[in-house]
Symmetry: C2
Subunit: 311 residues, 2 copies
């Protein structure tokens, strides 16, 4: 029994309501990524390949804040973070501050396979990418006209109200929302998780959020669950959010649903942290929760129809 869930970020409702065409484009992007992952699982492929395929599809889609279409830093460039983890043996790969690799999740996967390092960042990571045969792209490849406009608007706001604009909350007010991720259980019972992001809009150069941090934004262990988060990266780093869910199962004997609900609806709310996560456990149970008005997400299990939700 395979199971797959993906997200395209959590946040506030768009201040300008979506047109039907725009809403449809997001639904299509999510379905395309879900299909890419499900095709792997259907034919008996492994969870690790499925989450990589789903996340790479969302990275290529300019609507989502990952790789092509990512938000811009305060300097007007794109810096990308991604991670992937195999729940079968706890192998993991994570990259951050990537400026020239088309699909950061594939570079993270390569690190996972290479096994010498888990976490490689910046120019050193891109040197590794070049040596591993990845073709590098110009930073401009990632920058869409929409993100350029968002950047200009944010810069104007900072000129008028530096304090408010510096708040990490800004990214959550900006539709489309954020980070992308996937979790899967394959037919053999293995779990995997992957996450990819452009981070928060207008972020300080060098800032890393929770997405590429194993345990915070991404975690998988066949003995408990696979998790990918989206939201206030700084808070999810502090709460070690992805592993917190796994630990609630592993040490607290919680069900997946209870663990996710307690973490997202109670603990994070009490801390003032906004966001959501997707998770799948060893039984193929899926949880997708958020304490924000919206979270772009989709899921499918073997023999069941796929579902897509924006709010």
């Amino acid at each position: 029994m395979y199971a797959l869930a993906i997200h395209g970020g959590a946040g506030a409702l768009p201040r300008v309501p979506f047109t039907a065409a725009r809403e449809n484009a997001y639904r299509q992007g999510l379905m395309q990524a879900l299909d890419a992952g499900e095709r792997v699982l259907e034919r008996g492929g492994c969870a690790l390949d499925a989450v990589e395929a789903a996340v790479a599809s969302l990275e290529d889609d300019p609507l989502f804040n990952a790789a092509h279409g990512a938000v811009l830093t305060a300097d007007g460039t794109v810096e990308l973070d991604a991670a992937i983890m195999d729940g079968s043996d706890l192998r993991a790969g994570a990259v951050a501050l990537i400026r020239h690799v088309r699909n950061p999740v594939r570079l993270a996967r390569r690190l996972l396979e290479d096994a010498a390092h888990v976490f490689l960042v910046g120019a050193g990571a891109e040197r590794f990418a070049a040596q591993a045969g990845f073709s590098l792209v110009a930073n401009d490849y990632f920058i869409t006209p929409e993100r350029q406009q968002q950047f200009e608007a944010l810069r104007q706001r900072r000129l008028h109200s530096p304090a408010a604009a510096a708040s990490a909350a800004i990214a959550l007010e900006e539709p489309p929302f954020g980070t992308v991720g996937a979790v899967a259980r394959d037919q053999a019972g293995a779990l995997a998780a992957a996450t990819s992001t452009g981070g928060t809009a207008g972020k300080h150069a060098g800032r890393i959020g929770d997405s590429p941090v194993i345990g915070a934004g991404t975690y998988a262990d066949n003995q408990s669950c696979a998790v990918s988060t989206t939201g206030h990266g700084e808070w999810f780093l502090r709460t070690v959010q992805a592993y917190d869910i796994a630990a609630r199962l592993r040490y607290g004997g919680c069900s997946l649903r209870a663990a996710v609900s307690e973490a997202i609806e109670r603990r994070l709310v009490a801390l003032g942290a906004a966001g959501g996560l997707i998770a799948v456990d060893q039984h193929g149970e899926i949880a997708m929760e958020r304490n924000t008005p919206a979270m772009f997400r989709a899921s499918v299990r073997a023999g069941e129809p796929a579902s897509v939700h924006l709010i």
Copy 2:
């Protein structure tokens, strides 16, 4: 009742036995750092100030692999990582790939206070440091003659046996050992943890280990414990080691001693991971465990004599 523990890294026994003078120098370095932290706690200062003071002392000591005296990367430079966390409110600061800040733990502390970002890396972090008034030093400041010799020896070994020399195990074979860290409980019951490292000798440029990763190498929460780890960074990233100890207390109801013993002596050994950690819980209980032959460590509690151990 205050409590403080520090470590100066875990690893193999030196291949060449220490002279009495050299052993004494390490003991003095550990005692000096312990004193720096204890002076803060004695006068009623907070745990956060105590771990910062202790770690900064070890960073300044050329005998330890952090800041001045850190190991060299494959490129022959020094890249430094550090993190600090306040268990009272889960504030945290983490920096990595630092080349020009004399005390990375103090930069991490500044990030913690600044609160806009948790994790800032590389040139972006050093720009933040300059803006925050830190004076930057040349990378040469960190490089000692002993580390330069170690670098040359490692380069020769790589020329003769590239595969063996690329192994992450190398750093653990190299005395003096590694990473430094501190955990404290102050008189008011607050917990804090800090860790600082030069990483593994001959590491790939851009490689980040567990030390600066909140949840992996460093974690503190007044409700459970404060932890600082040292050892196979890649494994500790995968096991989310510092938060794993906290979660065993928080969700599993374990004692600190049982949690640390189960994690270090059983789980990490089963995974083939070598290293150790220091931890203090809300009652002021201290645990210092490793599955390596040696771990440089020292601890003290109010009204009790300090202890220092190298093996």
